[in-house]
């Protein structure tokens, strides 16, 4: 497809251990348009994190290819910034320095020192973390750490923002707050986002499309659901919106009827 921004074509991934190889992902095909927010949902162990790592270039593809803006992806790079599940901020750097590290590396040639400072502050502002810019990661809450993680990723001006269960380790209230922030940022900057999640509500609330994965081993894309909800989306209004409820039900049906978790199937 010519119009697609990021395309994943016939991607399979096997992990070899000694003589035996386990196929984790089988024949994944997906194309994503610029500015789209895509969620990948599936039971744990279905290889969704592996898929994200493949897009990030952190894991090598076994067969097939991933093409981002007509260039093949085969190594990690700042054009595909990752927000990791456990924030992975460097604990010896302040929040400002954590973001600055990325800015300094990515824009070392392109921006002056003053511009890099301004850009770092701008990104901290975007996630409302300027007040804690001199705090170490150990001194701030989990939600705040994740904000800084998002700021660090945004600061690289990535073509695609990869979120690996970014809200998984947070409590429900903080999660809702952060989801709203991500929606605002997405509306403002129009980033292309791929998010891994196992939360149905989160997927429906945030995404333009939801990619549902079958169970592993040899997991693949089971179904892709369009979420035709207008933006900006308001959490409260949506809770009784028929489109929202229908989308939610569709994902639930997929996950709990047709592709139940292996552990549940046995029971």
């Amino acid at each position: 497809m010519a119009s697609s921004f990021l395309s994943i074509e016939h991607v399979s991934k096997s992990f070899a251990r000694g003589q035996s190889a386990t196929q984790v992902l089988r024949d994944i095909n997906l194309s994503i348009v610029r500015g789209e927010y895509v969620s990948i949902i599936g039971h744990s162990g279905c290889g969704k994190s592996t898929l994200l790592n493949l897009i990030a270039g952190l894991t090598k593809i076994t067969t097939g290819g991933i093409i981002l803006e007509n260039k093949e992806v085969n190594e990690p790079g700042p054009d595909r910034a990752v927000v990791f599940q456990n924030h992975s901020l460097l604990p010896w750097l302040t929040t400002y320095q954590n973001v600055k590290l990325a800015v300094d590396k990515v824009f070392s040639q392109l921006k002056s020192r003053a511009e890099r400072h301004a850009w770092t502050m701008h990104n901290l502002e975007l996630v409302q973390m300027v007040h804690a810019k001199d705090k170490l990661p150990a001194e701030i809450s989990g939600g705040m750490k994740q904000r800084v993680g998002i700021a660090r990723a945004l600061a690289m001006e990535p073509k695609v923002l990869l979120l690996d269960e970014p809200f998984g380790a947070l409590d429900a209230l903080t999660r809702a707050h952060l989801q709203d922030s991500v929606m605002q940022i997405h509306a403002r900057l129009g980033n292309t986002v791929i998010m891994i999640t196992h939360d149905v509500d989160e997927a429906v609330l945030l995404s333009d499309r939801i990619v549902m994965m079958t169970n592993g081993p040899s997991a693949t894309i089971g179904e892709i659901l369009d979420v035709p909800l207008p933006r900006p989306r308001k959490r409260l209004e949506l809770s009784s919106d028929p489109t929202y409820l229908r989308s939610r039900e569709a994902v639930m049906r997929f996950l709990y009827e047709r592709h139940r978790a292996p552990a549940l199937q046995a029971a």
Partner: protein, 163 residues
Amino acid sequence: MRGLDPLFQVLRTVPPLAWLPLSLAAFRDGQPSAIFVIFITAIWPIIINTAVGIRNIPTDYRNVAAVLRLNQLEFFWKIMIPAAAPYIFTGLRIGIGLSWLAIVAAEMLIGGVGIGFFIWDAWNSSRISEIILALIYVGLIGFMLDRLVAGIGHHATRGTATS
């Protein structure tokens, strides 16, 4: 590093004073021999802990470095050294304790200077109370050295090292 580990473990268990005759034979002088004994005693926990620290750099930090495309030098200074620093300082703390141990023992054997010689001299002159005083002194200095290194470690690693 992993291949050298058994070698380190063997060398580590050699008691400090066992090195002294060999180093006396090599240097033919008390002072450098004593310094060599201190060095050879203190170096192993520092090396072993540093190796453990580098081996234990979380995958997350490596991934961050990969996404940012840090080169080897940047990875070394910005990720490896700070990530291993708490382990290095643990090694240094053990090392300084051991070297204080070795210093006192070496001074007893080489003679002429230092608190070790003072204790030995006091024993030869049957001044038991001075020995007890010296022991308390040795203990307190050892404690202070440990605290000093821990304090530097705490400061240098911004609180990520335990003190």
